[in-house]
Structures are given as structure tokens and as C-alpha cells.
Amino acid sequence: MLTVGDVFTSYGMIKALNGVTLSASEGEITCLLGPNGAGKTTLMFTIAGILRAQAGSIKFDGQSIERLSAAKVVEAGIALVPENRLVFPTMSVEENLEAGAFIRVAKDRAGVDDDIERMYMRFPVLKERREQMAGTLSGGEQQMLALARALMSRPRILLMDEPSVGLAPLIVEDIFQIIRDVNADGMTILLVEQNANMALSVADKFYLLEHGRVTFEGAPGELEQDEVIRRAYLGTE
């Protein structure tokens, strides 16, 4: 569904991605593991059109998207939940949900309202807090809101950047249960994680990214868990 072919991205002189090739298949959860600085977030931003690749191709349903603006990428059906900057803190929960539907709210007001109601059914805590400023939610609730907001654009693939970061272990369990549920409803997910244990428990397929390159691809179990964890945190060297 999403294929990334030999992508190079750099920040000025610093090369962050040195020819990354990977793919995410429809209906699956694909995980991307790797230590800090391996280029995971850079890859997410490149797919989302926020950063430009110097070379390589990104295809979504056979359509080339590597030259599209971030806005067009969202319209194509790709939604990104960035790491750490989850919500618009000074806007209410409901306004945050509406923000996720930015690309279609003008044309389809009724549909957006229906979707907001559906999100409230799925995440009742958001309904309780609908008028509250999003910045006052707990970390787990903010992650939930960020996920719900991403779904508001009716994406066909969800890119999630480190949903477990900064959350208590019990909350991480909850978030991953939600990820499983969303996937069970048919959503394709590309998930970047540092928490290798959690990631492997939900992944259909995973990649190891080190120094801007994919160094392993396979299904969970194809590489010993200890080895995955060591490389995900520390890299090979």
C-alpha cells in the first residue's frame, strides 16, 4: 500500500536517511524500530511531505507522493501523529477533533459532526472533556486525542511516531490496545517505536533502522527478541 524506495533525506549537510526502502501492506501494522538519531522521525516527516526527499520514491497505492505538499498528502489519505507535539494545547478537545478534519470540514460539515460523535463513542473520556482545553489533559488522554484527531481526516494509513513516549507503562498498554482495535477495524498502521517489546507484540512486520538505513526486515520472531531490543536501543556498533 505504501512503499518507500531508496529515499535520501538530509538536513543541510547532515544526511539523516541514506537510502531507506520499506513497505507497509494494507491492513497490517508495520513497525519501525531503531535507536535515537537513526532517522525514524525524519522518515515519517518525509512520507508526510513535511520534509523533502533528495532522492528516491514514495508511492501510496501506486501513486507517487514524494513531490506532494503536506496538505496533498493528507488529502491522499495519510495521517501523521507526530511525537511529543500531540495536541493544540490552547484549543478545546472538540476543536482539536475538528482540526483533524480540516481538509473536508468545509464540504462535509454533517459528516464531520457524525465522525466526532463516533470518536466520542469510541473514546468516552474525550466526550467528558470535550470543552476542556487540550493542554490540560493527561499524557494518555492527549495521545488518545491525537489518535482520534488523526482518524478525523478519514485516512487509509496512520503514521504514528512513538505513541508510548513519556507515558506510564499501564497507559502504554491502553494505547497499544487502542492501536490493535483501530487496526482490527481495517486501518493500516506504520508505527515508529523505541519500546521494542510493545511494538513487537502488535507488529505484523518490522524493520530495524540504523544510521539512516534499514538493517533488518522480517516478522516478529524471525530475529531473537534480545537482539532486536539491543539493536533498537543501541544500534549494531
Binding site: A70, P82, T90, G100
Partner: protein, 297 residues
């Protein structure tokens, strides 16, 4: 109303335009030290048109705003890819370029035996539209406030509309806004041009109220003050910068008996406010609470 009160109230009204202009930039997440340039452009363009070419005031003001808006479009497209301190420095440099440019503009024509027009650092006097048309200071003050209410109405309408929400998203987190499919550069440019037009409007009023302008009126201190108004009054609503203007000019005028010491008191007040209310008196959170309270009652 005494002449003195009329002049203080008129000043507050005209400064409110540039305060709103700087506020719009703050809302999109940028600190501009250059809004005084658009104020100055509006003042000079409209002043030249009425005093030298005999245009009617309203048309001169429209053109003053249009030129200020176009200047904002050009400077904005050059600077808006920068952010934070780099944007602040770039806007300051452009504003200084325009001020220094005005210092070397010498274009005068003879009208009724008098030389009229910008004369560099000597300034541009005899912008005599209000005398020729027998407009009293009180009437001109009314014009200022009618236009200010007009601008505020537009701003309130935008704040309640989807456009306002989008602009707040862009200001709060440009990257996250981009991830929702928002063309961040477009909305930033839109807000910048609107801010330029508002400052230009304030400037063209100022030129005709003061009847004399010089490039140094539009120096960086004017820009710093206009930023301070929003930061003191609050960034949650367009009422915020007006509170800032009222506090600054109203307070300083009100305690004139204390002479030089009043600046110390005012500086202290600003410092205390910024420590306890970093986004001003009416920040987003208080505005949110007030709105909820109004909806309930």
C-alpha cells in the same frame, strides 16, 4: 471634552491599529519588530496624496492601506520562512530600511506659495486636509473610532470563524498544523498582509491627525510598544491589545503628576504582569473560561 482629552483619546485609537497589527503577528506565532514600517508607509502615502495631489482623504487612505498591504506581502514572502529570533531581526531590518529610505526622500511641490512634501529628516508638514475641510479634532476622533470598531468587528468575526481557528493552529504549532493538511505558509502570509493593511490604516489616520510626520516617528520604539500592548493585554482575543493600549497611554497620562517617576512604576507593572501572566491579561485560557461562562449564563 477638552482638547487635551480628545488628543489623548485619539492617540489611543490610532495606536490601537498598530497594536492590533502586532497582535495578529503574535497570534500566528511570530514576533515582528517591524509593524511601524507599515504604519509609516500608510502615513506617508496618504499624506502625499492629500497634501500634494489634493486627493480626497478616503481614497488616499485606501491607497495607503493598499501600499502597506503590498509591502507586507513582499516583506512577508521574504521573511516568513524564517522563525523566532531570525524573523524578528529580519522584520526589524526591513523596517529600518524603510525608515532610513524615508530620510532621503525629498519631493516637494509648491502649493499656494508654500513648499509641501516629504523633506527627509526635516519631516513632512502641512498635511492640512482637516483644516481645509473644517474637520474638528472631535469629529476626526469619531472617524478614528468608527474605523477601529470596523476593524475590531472583522477581527471578532474572523476569531469566531473557522479561519480564526486555523490561524490559531498555525500559530500554536506550525508543524502539527501542517500535519492536518493546512497550507501554513499561505495562512501566515494572509495574516501578515492583513496586519500590514491595519497598520497602514492607523498610519494614514495618524498623518492627518498630527498634520506633521517625520521618519523618526516610525522608529523601532513604536514597534516595541505595539508588541508590548498585545503581550500585556493578552493574546487570547483582539480586546487584549486594546487593554494594553489603554493601560499604557491611559495610565501614563493619568499619573502625569508623578513626572519621570511614572515610567519606573509603569516598567515595574509590565515586568510583574509578564512574570505572572506571560501571555497577557486576557490569554487563551482566560478567554476560553470566559466564553464557557458566557455560554452557560
Amino acid at each position: 471634552m477638552s482638547d487635551y482629552v480628545v488628543s489623548v483619546v485619539s492617540n489611543m485609537g490610532m495606536i490601537a491599529f498598530i497594536a492590533l497589527s502586532a497582535y495578529i503577528l503574535l497570534v500566528i506565532g511570530e514576533i515582528s519588530f517591524g509593524q511601524q514600517a507599515y504604519f509609516g508607509i500608510g502615513a506617508y502615502i496618504s499624506g502625499v496624496l492629500t497634501a500634494m495631489w489634493g486627493w480626497p482623504l478616503w481614497l488616499a487612505m485606501v491607497l495607503g492601506c493598499a501600499v502597506a498591504g503590498s509591502a507586507a506581502l513582499i516583506i512577508g514572502s521574504l521573511t516568513l520562512r524564517l522563525s523566532g529570533i531570525y524573523f524578528a531581526i529580519a522584520t526589524l531590518s526591513f523596517a529600518e530600511m524603510i525608515r532610513l529610505g524615508l530620510l532621503s526622500v525629498h519631493v516637494q511641490v509648491e502649493i499656494d506659495g508654500e513648499l509641501v512634501g516629504p523633506e527627509g529628516a526635516e519631516g513632512f508638514g502641512d498635511i492640512r486636509w482637516i483644516f481645509e475641510n473644517d474637520v474638528t479634532p472631535f469629529e476626526f476622533m469619531t472617524v478614528i473610532y468608527v474605523l477601529l470598531v470596523g476593524v475590531l468587528t472583522i477581527l471578532f468575526w474572523v476569531e469566531r470563524s473557522r479561519l480564526g481557528t486555523v490561524i490559531r493552529m498555525v500559530g500554536s504549532d506550525p508543524l502539527l498544523a501542517q500535519a492536518q493538511g493546512i497550507d501554513v505558509v499561505f495562512y501566515r502570509l494572509l495574516a501578515t498582509v492583513f496586519a500590514g493593511i491595519i497598520a497602514g490604516l492607523g498610519g494614514s489616520l495618524y498623518a492627518h491627525f498630527a498634520t506633521y510626520i517625520e521618519p523618526n516617528v516610525f522608529n523601532v520604539m513604536l514597534g516595541v510598544h505595539s508588541l508590548a500592548y498585545g503581550l500585556i493585554g493578552g493574546l487570547g482575543t483582539a480586546v487584549g491589545p486594546l487593554i494594553g493600549v489603554g493601560l499604557d497611554i491611559g495610565f501614563l497620562e493619568g499619573v502625569r503628576v508623578f513626572q519621570g517617576y511614572r515610567m519606573i512604576a509603569f516598567g515595574g507593572l509590565v515586568a510583574v504582569l509578564l512574570i505572572f501572566m506571560p501571555r497577557g491579561i486576557l490569554d487563551e485560557e482566560r478567554v476560553h473560561r470566559i466564553k464557557r461562562w458566557l455560554e452557560r449564563s
